[in-house]
Amino acid sequence: MAETLSPLDTVLRAGRYANTAAKIGVTLSEVSPGSIVQVAAWPDTEAKVLEGIAKTTKLKLGGEPGAGAVSGNVAAFGIAPGRFLVISEDEGLADRLLGAIPATVGSVTDLSHGRTAIRIEGEKAEWLLAKFFAVDFSKAKFPVGRGVSTNHHDVFAQIQRRTENCFEVYVFRSFARSFWKALCHGAEENGYEVR
């Protein structure tokens, strides 16, 4: 990819902020995956779409709502009935998925530029997310790999739990800077680090 510009470039400054007297509660960073792709099945082709995702990424997704998987540099999760978000550190994932999923099986939509990925990591990650989203992020209800589609007022977000204390949030690119500022603001009471 040619030299690109993230909407966070002018606001993201590495360092420790706010209540640093306390232990750093969360670490915020921008992830710049090479590809963010939506794959959607027709009502009777979900199994074939999952096959296509598995063939392309080696990820096996369960059929239940929000089911997801993380492995190496790829991740995927359900965002709606028959719809999945597939993320890879590599570029060109959309083309590879298109090869495995023809129009008769489903649609492939490249969103690599359209969504900004923000990583929220640390002991207070669940606490910070709870300020924005009315979703139960407890480990029991939202295990590693699971994804969810929700919103914070006008900001639509898709969120996946990557590890026990790490979440990735995908927001519309145009909202990313505002949302980042709001995240930082919300993280102040716990002390936060930007990487």
């Binding site: 990819m1 040619a2 030299e3 690109t4 510009l5 993230s6 909407p7 002018t10 706010a18 209540n19 007297a21 306390a22 939506q38 959607a40 027709w42 009502p43 129009a103 008769t104 489903g106 649609s107 939509t109 490249d110 969103l111 690599s112 530029h113 359209g114 969504r115 709870a130 300020k131 989203f133 009315a134 979703v135 139960d136 407890s138 209800k141 007022h153 006008d154 900001v155 519309f172 690119r173 145009s174 909202f175 800077r177 505002s178 949302f179 500022k181 709001a182 603001h185 919300g186 993280a187 102040e188 009471e189 716990n190 002390g191």
Partner: protein, 998 residues
């Protein structure tokens, strides 16, 4: 009343002093104190002036039910009025002041109001200011005359003008069981539920968990109750499945067990930690709720019952046992039940002398008699207090024999500086009432008990009418288990509770009608007296809800916590009906006052989200004045130094007509329409055909609503056999997306089509003007852009500066123009490359104003004309209405009213005086500047046209098509703009479109 701090006991830390100020005077208190307890310990007994009559008032209670002692807390320049002093925790440097007094609390000029009591009784406002005007001083005009004085005299604290800089936050929480209240019942419920492995939240309104255990003076299994509570709290705190929130008032119970709570995070600190919110609004979704909210003691209504020094027995007991404050030296008790005897014992232990216990009952229980003699108090059974004496402070009471109905005989005077009153107990059923049906009257307790649950909650303890601590603990345990649906419960060993625990069952006595003329208050905060209630009855306002609204009883900030039941009882007596037939009003949120800041939380100030295009920073760096369009920010003009807005846009628009300009169009809605049936779907959605559109071509499309009115327009590009890219107007992107999703989901679920918002995926730049092709030729690689390779509405793929781009030749400006799309993260890079390639051609960036000017010159419509009331025909877009197929709106668009020739139709307007006119100005046939005139339409958009060298406008005018070439007038009385105009075609410039096809 000579209150003092006693040497030991309570939760306060006497080893540390806290300095604070009240009404300008410096005091000290201790950690653990409230403002009320600290002031009381300093001998302060006068706390405020009452709402209407400005009567001196002292403390009635020690908690959230306090109606009298409202203060204003001052922090920096922010005033927070109407806070009960009983709920303000002391912190170093606290500054507070009393309210509703002028010039001072001790001497208040409006106190004369109390002698004009008849004048401002119940319904005063309705009677005085409503209705027809009989004379000059009646009705609303009289109100306007008096309003200023009344508002000043009657009222609570004064709100500040300084902005509140505190931050507030909202939290979402989920739990299996929410326990509200942490008294013995609540603690026991939380432990039982947690034992079952449930995810538990425990909310306590006070700073300290434990509720009544903190002041009951009992022992539980041999340990002082307060220590028992501390231990229970410590055990809960160790568990990972329990979240404990103190200083948290649960104030709203909404459907599907959604609970609202307010956590006061920093109110008790001199300064919050960095980033700490002042309040946290908790939005809790609980599987089930245990209501262990306890009960409120209520006063007895008798003449002079509001004199400072008269307080609730439980309040005084709390001050003694929890705060180590003795509320008086010579204390009298006035009760209709046994619980007040416990207060007598507690006060006795502080060293006060209990001068008399006045009990309205003919016989007191054995237990009560024993307690009275232990206090060495004179026990006056079958007596009632009929008057209080003293000025701003109680110095004595009068008692008379009482037979359960009325007083008789000679009055006897008793010297006392503090009178403790107990009129029975009302379970705090507010949340249960919010959640469902009407409460149930209990004869034994003379109180309303919680209704049958309509939501998933369980009650426990005094809330349920179980006042004895051992019962409360047992009920709590059972409630905790019931809330989890637990079965493998460990059996609770009933605790041994020792201490004086009087039965709360009162004699049904709510009011003593004395012979004196002293006012007898029911609602202390709103100054509603027993006579006001009777007046309401006389005037026909007898139901609970009418009584409330007519007298304002229970409508103050304390929501009638102490006054509701006495008010109902007095009305019941007046009507001769039993209390339950008068009814109880349904409690509504909030249970306790809520800060507005916590409700707004983070959606405030600069945290309102902004949508930024990929080139946003470039625009700012290059002098753009930004304009907010919905949530989007777009350049309005790129003004040069000293340029007005008009000069800037005229310059920019002129460059586009003569050379080349570039504008950011990334905000246009973009929707990927994919799937085998995409073409068919678009045929149904648009008024014109799209299935026939070849791959690599774009087409302008129009959408209608189901009702046949115009909805949105834009171009849609066919990128592949099964793949289209639809563009919408910026403003309607979301609505169009929802319309497409609705039809795919609900109406045509058989179509194999997916729609996905890709607005943010693409950066878009429109490059327009006669030289635009030359600019592209200079920078585009991998494709030709000449007229053969890229004809009008053609699409090509290539690269600019190594970045993949998609170029479509289409025009909004009417000039030769192209839209260049690339990945959003590369938008600025491509934009800069276009600027560099355009430099030899003197390219300029242009903003929304110039964009608007160019489109007005061409007569293109936008949201100002597609305003939801116009049809395709009104806008002269009927050529786009396909007759070969049905589409959304096709069946309804030909209705009689929609094809009328006299409808508002799009026209051009030329002001003949060549001065600007504003959008919204009316078009009229005859001009009378002084009179309203019949409007024949209105202006939708206006600009100075550099191409035509004059001001022009678009308008929607009745039968506008037929009026072309005629004269009319613009009438804009608000802005004083009148003048002659000519109605012309909306195609001002290049009507045959030769420029963009060239």
């Amino acid at each position: 009343m000579s209150a003092i701090r006693i040497a030991s006991g309570g939760r306060i830390d006497r080893s540390r002093a806290i300095n604070f100020r009240f009404d300008g005077q410096a005091y000290t208190g201790h950690p653990g104190d409230t403002l009320a307890s600290a002031l009381l310990a300093n001998g302060v007994t006068l706390f405020g002036r009452s709402f209407k009559y400005h009567r001196p008032r002292g403390l009635l209670t020690a908690g959230v039910d306090e109606p009298n002692a409202l203060v204003t807390v001052l922090r920096d320049s922010v005033r927070e009025p109407n806070v009960p002093a009983t709920t303000v925790e002391l912190y170093e440097g606290l500054v507070a002041e009393s309210q509703n007094r002028f010039p001072s609390l001790q001497f208040d000029v409006s106190a004369v109001n109390q002698f004009a009591g008849k004048f401002i009784g119940a319904g005063f406002y309705y009677k005085t200011f409503m209705g027809p005007e009989f004379g000059p001083l009646k009705g609303t005009r009289f109100w306007m005359l008096c309003e200023h004085f009344i508002r000043r005299a009657a009222g609570l604290g004064r709100a500040g003008l300084a902005p509140d800089k505190s931050r507030y936050q909202r939290m979402n929480a989920f739990c299996d069981v929410l326990v509200v209240g942490s008294g013995p019942a609540g603690l026991s419920a939380a432990a039982a539920a947690a034992d079952q492995g449930a995810n538990v939240m425990l909310a306590e309104i006070d700073s300290r968990f434990g509720g009544s255990a903190n002041w009951s003076g009992e022992t539980i299994d041999g340990t002082p109750a307060s220590a028992w509570a501390s231990e229970a709290v410590a055990q809960l705190a160790k568990r990972s499945n329990v979240r404990m929130l103190n200083r948290t008032s649960v104030w709203g119970y909404y459907d599907t067990n959604t609970i609202a709570a307010l956590e006061r995070v920093t109110d008790h600190k001199p300064m919050g930690a960095s980033g700490e919110p002042r309040h946290r609004h908790w939005n809790i979704r609980a599987g089930s709720v245990v209501l262990a909210t306890g009960a409120f003691e209520r006063p007895i209504v008798f003449p002079g019952n509001d004199r400072p020094g008269v307080m609730l027995a439980s309040g005084a007991m709390r001050y003694a046992n929890e705060f180590g404050v003795r509320t008086g030296e010579r204390i009298a008790i006035f009760t209709n039940n046994d619980t007040a005897y416990g207060a007598a014992l507690a006060l006795k232990r502080t060293g006060a002398s209990i001068v008399a216990i006045v009990d309205v009952r003919r016989d007191a229980s054995e237990k009560a008699r024993h307690a009275a003699s232990e206090c060495s108090a004179e026990l006056l059974t079958g007596y009632a207090v009929t008057a209080t004496r003293g000025g701003k402070m109680l110095d004595g009471i009068e008692v008379q024999p009482f037979d359960g109905q009325r007083v008789s005989g000679a009055a006897r005077k008793i010297d006392a500086d503090c009178l403790l009153v107990s009129g029975g107990w009302s379970p705090a059923i507010h949340l249960a009432s919010q959640a469902g049906s009407r409460p149930v009257w209990d004869e034994t307790l003379q109180a309303f008990l919680p209704p049958q649950p309509t939501e998933n909650w369980v009650g426990a303890g005094a809330f349920n009418g179980a006042f004895q601590t051992a019962d409360a603990i047992a009920e709590g345990h059972a409630a905790g288990l019931a809330a989890t649906g637990g079965t493998n419960a460990r059996k609770l060993t009933p605790p041994m509770v020792e201490g004086f625990a009087g039965e709360p069952n009162p004699a049904p006595v709510f009011e003593i009608k004395g012979k004196g003329k002293g006012k007898a208050f029911v609602d202390f905060q709103h100054d509603v007296t027993a006579d006001d209630v009777r007046l309401a009855y006389t005037e026909g306002f007898t139901s609970a809800e009418h009584l409330k609204r007519y007298t304002t009883l229970g409508m103050a900030t304390d929501q009638g916590k102490t006054s509701n039941v006495p008010g109902m009882a007095i009305m019941a007596e007046a009507t001769g009906k039993p209390i339950p037939e008068v009814g109880s009003t349904r409690f509504r949120p909030p249970f306790a006052p809520v800060s507005v800041g916590s409700l707004a939380a983070e959606r405030f100030g600069d945290l309102k989200p902004e949508r930024l295009t990929p080139m946003h920073d470039w625009h700012l760096e290059h002098g753009a004045t930004m304009y907010s369009a919905g949530l989007w920010f777009r350049p309005m003009i790129y003004g040069a130094k000293g340029e007005t807005v008009e000069q800037a846009y005229v310059r920019e628009a002129k460059v586009v007509r003569e050379g080349v300009g570039i504008v950011d169009v990334s905000t246009l809605g973009k929707i990927a329409v994919q799937g085998p049936d995409a073409g068919e779907f678009l045929d149904r959605v648009y008024t014109n055909m799209f299935s026939t559109l070849p791959v690599g071509k774009a087409r302008y499309g129009l959408m209608l609503r189901e009702d046949g009115f115009a909805f949105d327009d834009g171009t849609t590009w066919r990128l592949g056999e099964t793949e289209f890219l639809m563009t919408t107007t910026t403003a309607n992107a979301g609505k169009v997306m929802q319309q497409l999703e609705y039809f795919l989901d609900v109406v045509w679920p058989d179509l194999r089509v997916h729609v996905t918002s890709v607005t943010d995926q693409w950066a878009g730049a429109a490059i327009a003007g006669p030289l635009s092709r030359k600019v592209l030729e200079a920078c585009v690689q991998g494709t030709k852009v000449d007229n053969d390779a890229l004809p009008f509405m053609g699409i090509v793929h290539g690269t600019i500066d190594g970045v993949n781009v998609m170029i479509c030749r289409l025009s909004f400006s009417g000039e030769l123009a192209y839209e260049v799309y690339c990945g959003a993260n590369e938008g600025t890079r491509v934009w800069e490359a276009l600027m560099a390639a355009g430099k030899p051609f003197a390219i300029v960036p242009y903003g929304l104003e110039a964009l608007g000017t160019l489109r007005i010159e061409k007569g293109h419509v936008t949201g100002a004309e597609i305003d939801g009331r116009t049809t395709a025909r009104d806008l002269h877009l009927d050529w786009m209405l396909s007759k070969k197929k049905p589409f959304i709106g096709s069946a309804m668009m030909d209705r009689e009213g929609l094809v009328d020739e006299n409808r508002l139709q799009l026209v051009g307007i030329v002001p003949l005086d060549n001065r600007p006119i504003n959008g919204g100005a009316h078009i009229v046939e005859q001009l009378h500047e002084d009179h309203p005139m019949n409007s024949i339409g209105h202006v939708t958009a206006m600009c100075y046209s550099p191409a035509l060298g004059k001001y022009i406008a678009l308008a929607l005018v009745k039968g506008g098509k037929a009026r072309r070439g005629t004269r009319a007038y613009v009438s804009d009385p608000l802005r004083k703009r009148f003048g002659p105009v000519e109605i012309v075609s909306h195609h001002f410039f290049d009507p045959d479109g030769s420029r963009m096809h060239g």
